[in-house]
Amino acid sequence: MRLPRGFAEWGLVVGTALVAVFVALALVGESLVGPRAVSNILVVDGRVYEVPPLLPPGSSLVVEGRELVFIMGTDQLGRDVFARVVSGARFVLTVAFFSTAISAVIGTILGLLSGYIGGFLDRVLSLVMDSMYAFPGLILAIAIAALLGVGVLNISLAIAVVYIPSYYRMVRGVVLSLKAAPFVEAAVLAGASSWSIVTRHILPNVVPQIVSLLPVSFADAIITEAGLTFLGLGIEPPTPDWGFDLNKGRQFFLAGYWWIGVFPGSMIILSVLGFLLVGESLNELLNPRKVEA
């Protein structure tokens, strides 16, 4: 074993570690921290206690002879900040997962159709996709999220619409370059149906390109989700969510209760950074020649 060298190798190591941590949090975080994430009411031995708001990090509370520690303090409603940032991973990553999956699938299907069939369909789809691509993504997502209302699937859909054109453009480009490739021509001459040419000959060559786009678009989805929930869109309290918590705790954060903002904010940065580093490093290590701007 040697130590990693250069930005790409270090990026891959750090990024993978971060991604692993956040995926683990999304899967089990909520069950680890329990109800402390959504309520300031503690039930110990059948008795009800109210946790005071705005306790600084490291505060402890002695309840029935037991010491409860709030390592990240409590928020303006007396909820455990640590519990909230840990269980907040679930909503964000679920939304990022669904939106990335939806945009990848729809973008790929449209890109395949458009590139392979060509003609009028291609022109219309390209115009639609290019218009959406050029338009400010966050604003489109805001408009759609506002119309769709709250819910995991609704906010995922709002984000997915924004990223469909990225997949469409990439897939269409690959299909156009492959359509004239000898192995595709051979398949045509051998009498293969369009369906089998697209699914068996073209799609397998598109998949690696899609995969290389996935981590970065996952990172983008997280940051877009944070922006939407910061504006209060797509989410309902008391669901723990980093962007939403930053919004609700904003006044207190500005008033000097730093832990209310710093912890959720750092969670957003680290999770985005994790996926971004994985994506960028992989692309650099797998295509050393391509220096992307």
Binding site: V128, I142, L276
Partner: protein
């Protein structure tokens, strides 16, 4: 195709792009459940009132008629409608809010490009040091910071200790004074300078400092990368080696031979980033209560006022289309090799 034809072609494409975006907005707003009236006034309003309000807004007509009416009012009558509650023309609201966003976007771009160019040039100049790695990490981290969080951090970290204003565009007194100035364009900086009110201009710039820094830092990572990559590419070319061989100092080589190579990519990136800039501006404006177009959209969303959202989408689409056209024209001016 000459430059003039190219511009005409692009101009012709702009309405098409608008049509696509407006259709998307229309479909989303009409096909999805719920309508503006029940959203606005609750589900318990009497049947006859509901019917009357629907008729007023043309919502009782079949979808395709509504669609044609909608496009007709936007494209032919150039009418963006009125707000649902106060009946204020949306075009008026946009006109009052747009200058603030334009100011912020320009200031943000200046910050972003300044940081990006400096960091990119330093990376290329000190290629062998730790600096390029640092710049790379900086770019990734900046990309990962949500712009609203960056804004909040600057408010806490810079504004609280230094006393810089954190919200709004002007002190309340100056806001009132501004309205009474004889020469008005809507652009605060321009107005205060035209009327020789340097105190108002200074106040405005103080208010703009943090939002512009926020937006600028948010976009600076990508400009750092672009500058570095294109200057580094030039630094291994024969003409830069020849320049060095002639004894020209390294900084001069970087600035003169390397940096010129970065102008076109920087221009391209500036054009491409306009969408990110406008999106980032929404969050920056919300964080700093900067009364621009982005804050208007946000308010429109909160109030479920579709006319505002729709109108703003139209204006954003127009801006994006015009900027990409401007970038194309700028290419031809900057680079004599570019021909259309």
């Amino acid at each position: 195709m000459g430059l003039k034809e190219h511009i005409l072609y692009r101009l012709a494409l702009t309405p098409l792009m608008l049509l696509v975006l407006l259709t998307l907005v229309f479909v989303l707003m009409r096909v999805l459940p719920g309508d503006p009236i029940t959203m606005l006034e609750g589900k318990n309003i009497p049947e006859d009132v509901l019917a009357r309000r629907r008729a007023e807004l043309g919502l009782d007509k079949p979808l395709h008629i509504q669609y044609v009416n909608y496009l007709y009012s936007v494209f032919v009558k150039l009418d963006l409608g009125v707000t649902a509650l106060e009946r204020i023309p949306v075009s008026y609201l946009i006109a009052t809010r747009l200058p603030a966003t334009v100011d912020l976007a320009i200031a943000g771009s200046i910050v972003a490009i300044a940081i990006g160019v400096v960091m990119g040039l330093l990376s290329a100049r000190y290629e062998e040091s730790w600096f390029p790695q640092f710049a790379r990490v900086y770019s990734s981290v900046v990309y990962s910071i949500p712009v609203f969080y960056l804004g909040l951090l600057l408010q806490v970290g810079l504004a609280r200790p230094s006393g810089l204003p954190t919200t709004g565009r002007l002190n309340p007194v100056n806001m009132v004074t501004l309205d009474s100035l004889p020469v008005r364009t809507g652009f605060v900086l321009l107005d205060s300078l035209l009327n020789w009110r340097l105190d108002i201009a200074a106040d405005y710039l103080m208010h703009m400092l943090l939002p512009a820094l926020t937006l600028g830092i948010y976009l600076s990572g990508i400009f750092t990368r672009v500058t570095y990559l294109s200057v580094a590419e030039a630094m291994v070319q024969d003409y830069t080696r020849a320049a060095r061989a002639r004894g020209i100092r390294e900084w001069r080589v970087v600035a003169r031979y390397g940096f010129r190579n970065a102008l076109i990519p920087l221009l391209t990136m500036a054009g491409l980033q306009v969408a990110a800039l406008l999106g980032g501006a929404v969050l920056t404006e919300t964080t700093f209560n900067w009364e621009g177009l982005g804050l208007l959209v946000y308010e429109g969303v909160l109030k479920r006022d579709y006319a505002i959202v729709q109108g703003a989408v139209t204006i954003y689409a127009l801006i994006v289309a015009l900027v990409s056209l401007a970038v194309d024209v700028a290419y031809a001016l900057v680079d004599p090799r570019v021909r259309y």
